[in-house]
């Protein structure tokens, strides 16, 4: 409490007065930047004072604020793909200027691959940030012809996956559960549809996404590897729009329209896969309630009360169903709801308060009669309240501060078995915890060349009752730890709590107009853990809080990068190197039992990690040929007492070389071709050295106790797709509707890319008394050419 003493308050007051003093004689220009055609706010558009380096960038809600001394200026508003607007102003009072920007014309729209000012990668302070917009995502050749957010970001440097069908993605050697995925600020605990082939984000409703791999700003926290921040569209404030598509695997439709012109609008988008609907007449197994599908609905509304206040409500709900019949099967889904209130406290102080609900659950049901069945539901639910403030102090300083409080409700197993009408509840205790954070950061221009963003986040976490708390004894590392004590914690009783200071720093030094050097450091703390010892991340993985037995994960990362643009910003080239150290990574004993196990924490181990790598990116932004090439050279290792004889071993997603090419070629107004190529080093896997037999069963054994000791063969794949746009004119008149066909081929040369290799006895019944024959089997999840088409429309 000392901080809030009179002395503290007094000094804060003086600080404030001092800043006010600096601001004497200055005036502020502020407002919103929007797309003229549909009123969608533009994120990351720039406002620059012509002939100077002073400027501002619009925030998530399109708001900008720029404070300058009294005088005559010309402001330049720009955003890639839009006509640059110049506006002379004479600044002698605070002014509010909203700008509606027009698309540069259809031709350029086709080639836009980033929605940022052309030299933004040079001038931006942040590094290790990847941006994609919906138009780019739709250009990348996609699995089964369907544009997908997660599949798109897997084409970027430093991002990888362990293989086809695996959920989520890996960033700079981090696990899937070390990425924070936000949809309009709501955490998405499992982002996959159809296991991992598609993600839950409907590209028709996505406006913009940013992936922070390093140099993570202080306003984000909670995961040690990356932040994927996805913003949904608001919906047109000008006119009704409908867009959609019919594809091989699913169909989609999105509607957006103004509710009150220029004040309120909505967007509603839905998708459903229909493989079971098509198959049902031919397939008897899908009668009586069987299903194999997914659906999702994404929606958002907003209302502008005044120039100072605007609210947004956005939500998502979706589910995947794999059901053998009405009573048996497996399903999972997310639901999120975000309420946001933007309030302009002054032309220089922007506030947003968000209240967020997020829910992920899965369900397994087996047994076709009520007298004999097994039901298991698992769920994680969170409620978050999050105030954020941006204070545009002057043209050189932009201060952000705010906080966050999250309430977690973990329900790992709500399960019952019924056997011959005897019902037994095998549920595990629900677990509760709270996470809180406060942060402050400043984005500061230090002269014409040097800029910095520095900040501090303080995070805390409490694991609270009610519940049974277990304490485990020490054993030889790598073995199951026995329960030595247990007690009942009361409701609200703090069982264990943690807190961490997380410093963040990013610096940019502009060498000249075309090149810059950037450096960053960040510390991240992660208090909830995704528990999975499977080959790939799957929807059945459960989240677990930090407890008296599990410490929070801590990650420190430094990164250094060189950024250069060539040929008048036609080409962007960058090289980044990073080094990461992590503590308290969750690992598992051999034979760990992770499903419905009350004593799960006795099977967990804690290790340290290190990851380092170099990422190269070349991007071509203009012309008939656009695209990017990314190459990552990386290494990721863990060290855990009780695994691999206590020495360093590579993680499952350690990939030495990861090369990806994305090329888009526009032949003319109607035809374009896009192509993807990936080459990825084989991932490590644990293979046996020896065989032995127990009771006639062949047992593979690693006599060196090594982990991930060998690698599966390399992965490579080429995809191609062709887009044909509908005619612009019909009988000499311009058509109202736009439409296009996409014909795609995934895995063009039909390579059977290995996902894993497993070792077992050969199929068939072994003859008693004979040696049991051993075999190795290489599995390809997608082992053939996959053609697809989709028809897409917009009117």
């Amino acid at each position: 409490m000392r901080f809030f003493s009179h002395k503290g308050l007094l000094s804060l007051f003086f600080l404030f007065v001092a800043f006010q003093g600096i601001a004497q004689g200055n005036f502020t220009i502020s407002g919103y930047l929007k797309d003229a055609s549909d009123g969608e706010s533009l994120i990351g558009a720039t406002v620059v004072v012509e002939g100077s380096t002073q400027g501002a960038i619009s925030n998530t809600y399109g708001f900008y604020s720029l404070t300058l001394p009294q005088g005559e200026y010309t402001l330049v508003y720009s955003y890639l793909g839009y006509l640059t607007q110049k506006m002379p102003i004479s600044l002698n009072s605070n002014q509010s200027i909203d700008v509606e920007m027009r698309l540069e014309g259809k031709e350029l729209e086709e080639v836009v691959i980033t929605s940022e000012a052309l030299d933004e990668n040079i001038t931006r302070i942040g590094m290790s940030v990847e941006k994609l917009d919906a138009r780019t995502i739709k250009k990348i050749p996609a699995f089964l012809g369907e544009a997908d957010v997660i599949n798109s970001i897997r084409t970027l440097p430093g991002v990888s996956t362990v293989g086809e069908g695996a959920s989520g993605f890996n960033v700079r050697g981090g696990g899937v559960g070390q990425n924070l995925v936000l949809l309009d600020e709501a955490p998405v605990y499992n982002s996959s549809h159809m296991l991992g082939f598609f993600s839950v984000f409907n590209p028709d409703a996505v406006k913009d996404l940013k992936l922070y791999k390093g140099g993570i700003p202080a306003r984000y926290g909670g995961r040690i590897s990356s932040i994927l921040d996805i913003q949904m569209k608001e919906g047109s404030t000008k006119k009704l729009g409908v867009q959609g598509g019919v594809g091989t695997i699913f169909s989609r439709i999105a509607v957006d329209a103004p509710i009150v012109k220029d004040k309120s609008s909505f967007i509603l988008a839905a998708r459903r896969s229909y493989i079971d609907v098509i198959a049902r007449p031919f397939v008897d197994v899908l009668s009586d309630g069987g299903a194999l599908n997914f659906y999702d609905i994404t929606g958002k509304v907003n209302y502008k009360f005044s120039d100072k206040d605007r609210i947004y409500l956005s939500g998502y709900t979706g589910r995947d169903n794999f059901k053998f019949d009405a009573n048996q099967g497996f399903s999972w889904g997310n639901s999120t709801l975000t309420f946001r209130w933007n309030h302009l406290m002054s032309s220089r102080l922007f506030m947003n308060i968000s209240a967020i609900y997020a829910d992920y659950d899965y369900k397994l049901e087996f047994g076709d009669t009520p007298s004999d069945k097994f039901d298991w539901k698992s769920r994680i639910r969170t409620i978050t309240v999050k105030p954020d403030f941006s204070w545009y102090l002057n043209a050189k300083n932009e201060i952000s501060f705010g906080g966050e409080i999250i309430r977690y409700d973990f329900n790992p197993a709500d399960a019952t078995t019924v056997s011959s009408n005897q019902e037994t509840n095998i549920s595990l205790d629900e677990r509760f915890s709270y996470e809180g954070a406060l942060y402050v950061s400043n984005k500061q221009t230090l002269g014409t060349r040097l800029s910095a963003e520095y900040g501090l986040r303080w995070s805390m976490f409490s694991y609270v009752g009610p519940g049974t708390i277990y304490e485990y004894g020490d054993v030889e590392p790598g073995k199951r730890r026995p329960v030595v004590n247990s007690y009942e914690a009361e409701s609200g009783e703090v069982v264990s709590s943690f807190n961490n200071f997380e410093p963040r720093l990013a610096i940019r030094y502009k060498i000249n107009e075309y090149s810059s050097i950037k450096a960053s450091y960040n510390r991240m703390a992660q208090y909830i853990h995704l528990i999975s010892n499977r080959t790939a991340s799957i929807p059945l993985d459960v989240w677990n809080p930090s407890t008296n037995n599990i410490d929070p994960q801590i990650g420190d990362q430094i990164a250094l990068g060189y950024f250069r643009n060539l040929k008048n910003n036609e080409y962007e080239v960058s090289v980044e190197g990073y080094y990461k150290q992590t503590q308290n990574q969750v690992e598992y004993i051999d034979g760990a039992d992770l499903l419905i196990n009350e004593f799960l924490e006795g099977d967990l181990l804690s290790g340290e990690g290190r990851a380092y790598g170099l990422e190269f990116l070349v991007k071509k932004q203009k012309g008939k040929l656009t695209g990017w090439a990314s190459y990552t050279l990386a290494k990721t290792e863990l060290k855990t007492e009780g695994i691999n004889n206590g020495t360093w071993y590579p993680t499952r997603f350690d990939q030495r070389h990861n090369l990806k090419l994305t090329v888009i070629y526009n032949f003319n107004e109607r035809w374009s071709l896009s192509s993807n190529f990936a080459f990825i080093s084989g991932t490590p896997s644990t293979w046996p050295t020896d065989r032995y037999e127990v009771q006639g069963y062949l047992i593979p054994h690693n006599g060196n106790n090594s982990r991930n000791n060998l690698r599966i063969p390399a992965y490579h794949r080429l995809d191609v797709s062709v887009t044909l746009k509908g005619k612009k004119e019909k009988k000499g008149k311009p058509r109202k509707n736009e439409d296009y066909w996409v014909f795609g081929v995934y895995n063009l040369y039909g390579r059977e890319n290995p996902f894993s290799i497993y070792f077992t006895q050969q199929g068939g019944r072994p003859a008693m008394g004979q040696p049991v024959p051993s075999t190795g089997v290489q599995v390809a999840i997608i082992g053939s050419i996959v053609p697809a088409f989709s028809y897409n429309f917009k009117f």
Binding site: I249, I275, F282, V283, D284, L292, G367, D372, K373, T417, S419, S420, Q422, T424, R534, T535, D590, G591, D593, I596, N597, R652, T686, W687, P688, T689, D690, R691, Y692, E693, V694, G696, Y697, I699, P700, H701, N702, G703, N709, L710, E752, F755, Y758, F759, T760, Q761, G763, R765, P766, M768, S774, G776, V777, Q778, V779, A780, I781, I782, G783, V786
Partner: protein, 311 residues
């Protein structure tokens, strides 16, 4: 209709296009392990312990026997059971003194001691209890996507009151042990795992029905489990909790789902052992020691005379 039977697999395959091929990659080498395969029961006749060395994984020959070991089991009453190498190298046999006597008693403690070279290998276990099998039933099943036309068997037995009984359920069809990895059937009390507290009741599904053979036709479809005239014998062996974990993990490791199911599989991990070695085999011993009592029941499938249904 036959072609539609595995339509769910086709459906999945249609979506996921998975495929497999057998390969023989180069593996690391390691010093050989010593294997002790010692599953002793209280059934009449000889009891056998196998001692051998492991082989490189892809070497498809009989495991080299470990000869001239001294093998004995001592119980908590001071009785010593000597196992000697008889006809077959590496197989150590105890023969009851008179044909009616059997090995061990429920609740007894048994200490195995093996001496070979400069190494001593030891392990101590208890003999647990088992319930009687009340009935084995056959039910006629029409052809469905999951079943071939034929009979499926189900046994009923009630786990005794008290948490912590662990069982290995072995099934013999027409006298032959069902020895596929997918046919491994173990239970913790009446269910699958410690801490689930399903105790003192009938074994739950699918434990009761995991006594059906998983033989496949060439196209990968299942053969009928039982047909008229077939016989079945189900045995419940008492095993230690460690042995239960051993079988559970063995099944996870060697009963591979294959194909698309490999997404859900766990990576390779060494199986636990309850044997401790000193000397040259220290930290290089694998296998298991267990002493079991056994309850069993046999049935013959006569469609005209099916046993009465369990209520």
């Amino acid at each position: 209709m036959k072609s539609l039977r595995f339509s769910i697999l086709i459906l999945l395959a249609g979506v996921f296009f998975s495929c497999e091929k057998e390969i023989t990659p180069d593996l690391e080498t390691a010093d050989p392990q010593i294997l002790v395969d010692a599953f002793i029961t209280d059934q009449p006749g000889e009891q056998v312990i196998r001692i051998a060395n492991s082989l490189p994984y892809f070497t498809a020959s009989t495991l080299p026997p470990v000869r001239n070991a001294s093998v004995e089991i001592k119980d908590d009453l001071g009785t010593v059971y000597i196992f000697t190498e008889k006809n077959e190298a590496g197989y150590y046999v105890w023969t009851p003194a008179d044909p009616d006597s059997t090995f061990g008693r429920v609740g007894g403690e048994y200490a195995l001691e093996i001496k070979t070279g400069n190494s001593t290998i030891t392990s101590t276990v208890y003999m647990g209890r088992v319930p009687e099998i009340d009935t084995i039933q056959f039910t006629y099943e029409e052809e469905s996507p999951f079943n071939a036309e034929g009979y499926v068997a189900e046994f009923f037995a009630v786990d005794p009151q008290g948490v912590g009984d662990t069982y290995w359920i072995k099934t013999f069809k027409n006298g032959a042990f069902l020895n596929l990895p997918g046919e491994i059937n173990v239970a913790y009390d009446a269910a699958f795992s410690a801490g689930s507290n399903v105790d003192g009741q009938n074994f739950i599904l699918p434990i009761r029905t995991s006594i059906n053979p998983l033989d496949e036709n060439e196209d990968g479809s299942l053969k009928p489990a039982y047909l008229p005239g077939d016989s079945i014998r189900v045995e419940i062996h008492s095993i230690s909790e460690d042995a239960f974990n051993f079988f559970l993990q063995a099944q996870e490791q060697i009963d591979r789902p294959g194909g698309f199911g490999e997404l859900f599989a766990v990576p390779l991990a060494n199986l636990p052992t309850n044997l401790i070695a000193t000397g040259q085999w220290e930290n290089r011993v694998v296998g298991f020691f267990n002493v079991a009592t056994v309850s069993q029941r046999s049935e013959w499938l006569d469609p005209d005379n099916l046993p009465p249904k369990n209520p």
